[in-house]
């Protein structure tokens, strides 16, 4: 069965390129435009294998989203990757402390994105 | 040949058919009994083949044929004299079949006569000189390098006869 990945980013173009890449690679894709929007998928009815989220978003940012997911009994064990640019070291540490599994550095090419997924989806 | 003491040199004599030849002993490595010869196809007839001398390969030449005589018939007297000769500046060993080894003789310069110029069967550059021993045996002293490096040892007429 295809794995389901939730991608959350306020940038439509980024969402679309990730969406496109993942769908082509055979994943089922759910999309959220920011943290608050993404929370609706964590209602216990959706099966989610992986969350990929941007960190800087309006309404609810990535760190808060990660904390919320980790606090949710149904989803606390899913791997979470966040998108970040270059060396945002403090942000990375913050995300790690919030419970992230790893990160993907922007810009990325599809192959790099997929190899990052392979590291956490097994 | 620079080490001449009292102008004498030592020679090894050997018999080929009815004729006796001598070669400077410095050129001779050893004398070995006849060994089984492995023929090398498509080589001149006088090159009888190769023998195994203690793990090394030695080419063997029918010296009589080289001198235009009938092929050597191997008897219990037949031996191979190994000579160190120089080919294109490199020393190489050659086994010379002879009907019978003779003796080692010491000759001073004045005992040796110059090679005959006229009516000689062999090319003049082959012969360093001649000598008559106490039994009046006529011995031809050979330049052994030339014997094995010249394609043709005989004067032309004889060669035609041979073919």
């Amino acid at each position: 069965m295809a794995k389901t990945i939730l991608i959350v980013d306020d940038s439509e173009s980024i969402r679309e390129v990730v969406h496109f890449t993942l769908e082509n690679a055979g994943y089922d894709v759910l999309v959220g435009i920011d943290g608050k929007d993404a929370l609706k998928f964590f209602d216990g009815t959706n099966h989610i294998d992986l969350l990929i989220t941007d960190l800087y978003m309006p309404n609810m940012d990535g760190i808060e989203l990660i904390r919320a997911v980790r606090a949710n009994e149904d989803y606390k064990r899913i791997p979470i990757l966040f998108l970040t640019t270059e060396s945002q070291r403090e942000k990375k540490l913050e995300a790690k402390d919030a419970g992230a599994t790893g990160w993907i550095i922007k810009p990325f090419v599809p192959a790099k994105l997929l190899s990052a997924l392979n590291k956490v989806l097994r | 040949m620079e080490e001449i003491i009292k102008n004498t040199e030592t020679y090894l004599t050997f018999r080929l058919g009815d004729e006796v030849f001598a070669a400077n002993i410095k050129k001779a490595i050893n004398i070995i009994e006849m060994l089984e010869i492995t023929e090398v196809p498509r080589s001149p007839e006088y090159m009888r083949g190769i023998v195994n001398v203690r793990g090394s390969v030695l080419p063997v030449i029918d010296t009589k044929m080289k001198f235009g005589m009938p092929p050597t018939e191997i008897t219990k007297n037949t031996v191979i004299v190994t000579f160190a000769i120089e080919i294109e500046g490199e020393e190489t060993h050659v086994g010379a079949m002879v009907d019978e080894p003779g003796s080692v003789i010491e000759l001073s310069e004045n005992q040796i006569s110059p090679p005959p110029n006229i009516g000689a069967k062999y090319k003049s550059e082959l012969i360093v000189g001649t000598y008559k021993d106490e039994n009046e045996q006529f011995i031809m002293i050979l330049d052994i390098d030339k014997v094995f490096t010249l394609d043709e040892l005989l004067e032309i007429e004889v060669k035609v006869k041979q073919e």
Binding site: V17, T85, K106, P107 | P41
Partner: protein, 676 residues
């Protein structure tokens, strides 16, 4: 991707508009955290998307602005009128950056420069990294040492250390050392435990925190050590690598030692401490185990001869063992055979040396001659680590030198001529070496004018090498250059063109059971390939007989062996037999080699490779495979090409080693003469 780019431009337009209105509000409300965060986020989105979709100018530019607003967000800086002006200017500039001509429009490029300069001066050196990024875009590589030793139970929390290692490789150039000495013996080995650890020398332009970040998520589950060794590249430094290898004893490095080496190397090697480095190397090579010694070549020759004798004696022992049929003797003989084989291989490997040793001389030659001939030549090599028997290397050095001279003199055109012909000014000569079966091939290829076939034919006719009416294929014409006394040089130069060479060269190759090939194309270049056997002294062969005389055919030249009826072969027309649907020309070796006796009813038909075909050779019987120690027949037989040597068997008999190529060449030449 274009579709996504379009999407990004739309999105960026919206973001820039949002930025503009946010800044407008911010002007009257400079403490509004919400707004500051939004401006920051917009910069961040533009930066990420710009990088993502190839708008490098956008990502570069917003990177700088983002930094300012990050400072403000963290309360380290306050919003001023000046900053707001810069930001408004930036909004306008960002609008021009999403236009299609942004990367080429000189106004836009100019604006990018001046605005970034303004931003930098606004930050005023506080944000050092930004300044560095602008003034020194090509950040230099530094070298690091990394120890990554996962705890044995690291697999428990789902981490696969190999992925982290991939990440290290993504950071830059890496030399990796895998340490396995902690792996327990099989009985105590647990499959879900990690017993391996890694050490790396990493050369990267990232800073140290990027490296530690790779391991951020496993830092509690591993031992991690990241040490900066040197502000520069170490992995491209051969001396460093040599020293590093001398320190490597398959267990954990002493980082201090590596650091010492690195700092020694970094101490301006050109001027100050060349000697110190040298001393260090010497010291190391002395202190560490001596890995190589020099041996007089005569000793090696003696060793090789003794090994040959050993192989020969072993053959005798094997014969005896077969006769006696005693089990324990058989055992011992097998052991000795084993050991002998190893000694033989070892001895062979000692006499093999890389051709690199010779290539150095060519480099010099080419440099000197290029100047003499006013030619601009680049010499490249490939596979110079290929090894070859030292005697053979000596033999082929002069031929190679000759070929390279020819390339420089006749092959590569003058700079003017090359440019006129639309070629790069710099001519190329490439030397490539590789092993192929039991042979070594060495190619010398140039991109010069190639051999002029018509000129060769005309010349050959002038010199009466071929008849005036002869029509030649390209292949045949090329072969003419190997004729004695052939030269196409218009005028004799001091280097080549004296008409000696290629013929001598071919003879030299034949002397060592080698060959030479020419591949040429007019105006494209010439490739000359030398093929030489790996070694002169030992041949793996098949022992066959004719009238009980023994011959050896090298296994490398044998394609197939068939048992056939003599009648069948005798009744074929013109000595061509149909074997499994193919027409195979063949020779009765007994007749060709003039050997007494007759074939029996059953004969052995040995198919050997000849050029691109197969040719059959008819023998009486096959004894078996045999490892022949090749003894030269000596100078007296030097014209005797068809026999490459002799081998003495265990019982003292002598077998002749046939060179099937030359044998067939000879036979076919004779037939051609007969037909004419």
């Amino acid at each position: 991707m274009d579709e996504f780019r379009k999407k990004f431009i739309e999105e960026a337009t919206d973001l820039i508009n949002a930025l503009e209105s946010a800044v407008l509000v911010l002007e009257g409300n400079s403490q509004n955290e919400e707004l500051i965060n939004e401006v920051f986020r917009i910069m961040h989105s533009l930066k990420g998307g710009g990088a993502m979709f190839g708008f490098v100018m956008i990502s570069d530019f917003t990177h700088n602005l983002e930094n300012i607003y990050d400072e403000i967000r963290n309360g380290k800086k306050k919003i001023t009128k000046e900053l707001l002006d810069i930001t408004f200017n930036s909004v306008d500039h960002l609008r021009s950056l999403i236009k299609p001509d942004a990367e080429t429009n000189s106004d836009t490029l100019q604006k990018q420069k001046s605005l970034i300069a303004e931003i930098v001066s606004y930050i005023g050196g506080v944000q050092k990294s930004v300044v560095e990024n602008i003034t020194n875009k090509e950040t230099a590589n530094s070298s690091y040492y990394i120890l990554f030793k996962p705890h044995v139970d690291i697999f428990d929390n789902g981490t696969n250390p190999l992925f982290l290692i991939d990440d290290v490789f993504e950071l830059g150039e890496v030399k990796r050392f895998i340490r396995t000495q902690d792996i327990p013996e099989l009985g105590r080995f647990e499959y879900d435990k990690c017993y391996v650890y890694w050490e790396f020398i990493l050369q990267t332009e990232e800073d140290i925190s990027e490296i530690t970040d790779v391991f951020m998520f496993v830092e509690d589950d591993c031992e991690l050590e990241v040490v900066k060794l040197y502000d520069g590249e170490l992995l491209s430094n051969d001396k460093f690598l040599t020293l590093l290898e001398s320190l490597d004893n398959n267990s954990r490095f002493d980082v201090e030692e590596i650091k010492t080496i690195a700092s020694d190397l970094s101490a301006k090697p050109q001027e100050r401490d060349v000697q110190a480095v040298k001393n260090k190397i010497n010291k190391f090579s002395k202190e560490s185990e001596i890995t190589s010694i020099r041996i007089a070549t005569e000793k090696i020759d003696t060793y090789m001869n003794l090994v040959s004798e050993l192989v020969t004696s072993l053959a005798g022992l094997k014969l005896l063992t077969e006769k006696i049929k005693d089990e324990s003797l058989t055992q011992i003989t097998e052991n000795i055979e084993n050991i002998t084989e190893q000694i033989r291989d070892n001895a062979l490997s000692i006499t093999l040396i890389p051709i690199e040793n010779t290539v150095i001389r060519f480099r010099r030659l080419i440099r000197d001659l290029s100047a003499d001939f006013n030619k601009n030549i680049e010499f490249t090599t490939e596979g110079t680590e290929t090894t070859i028997d030292k005697t053979l290397l000596q033999i082929i050095t002069d031929p190679l030198m000759h070929i390279i001279r020819n390339s420089i003199d006749h092959g590569i055109e003058s700079v003017e001529e090359r440019i006129k012909n639309g070629k790069s000014a710099k001519g190329q000569i490439k030397l490539r070496a590789y092993h192929s079966g039991s042979n070594v091939h060495i190619e010398v290829e140039d991109d010069g004018k190639g051999l002029d076939i018509n000129k060769i034919i005309t010349k050959a006719k002038e010199k009466d090498l071929i008849s005036k009416e002869a029509v030649l294929s390209k292949e045949d014409a090329v072969k003419l250059i190997f004729q004695p006394g052939f030269s196409t040089a218009d005028h004799v130069t001091g280097v080549s063109g004296r008409g000696v060479g290629m013929d001598v060269l071919r003879r030299k190759m034949f002397d060592v059971r080698g060959d030479i090939f020419v591949d040429t194309e007019i105006n494209k270049g010439t490739k000359i390939t030398l093929k030489v056997p790996l070694t002169l002294s030992i041949v793996d062969g098949l022992l066959v007989t004719l009238s009980n005389k023994l011959y050896i055919i090298p296994l490398t030249s044998i394609a197939r062996i068939k048992e056939l009826k003599y009648e069948f072969l005798k009744n074929t027309k013109r000595n061509i037999a149909e074997i499994d649907g193919s027409q195979i020309p063949f020779y009765f070796l007994r007749e060709e080699l003039d050997i007494d006796g007759d074939y029996e009813d059953e004969v052995k038909f040995i198919m050997v490779k000849y050029q691109s075909n197969y040719v059959g050779l008819v023998f009486d019987a096959i004894i078996g495979e045999y490892q022949a120690v090749l003894k030269p027949l000596g100078k007296l037989y030097k014209k005797h090409e068809i026999i490459s040597g002799a081998s003495i068997l265990g019982d003292g008999t002598v077998a002749l080693v046939l060179d099937t190529n030359k044998l067939i060449q000879r036979f076919s030449d004779e037939i051609t003469i007969v037909n004419n």
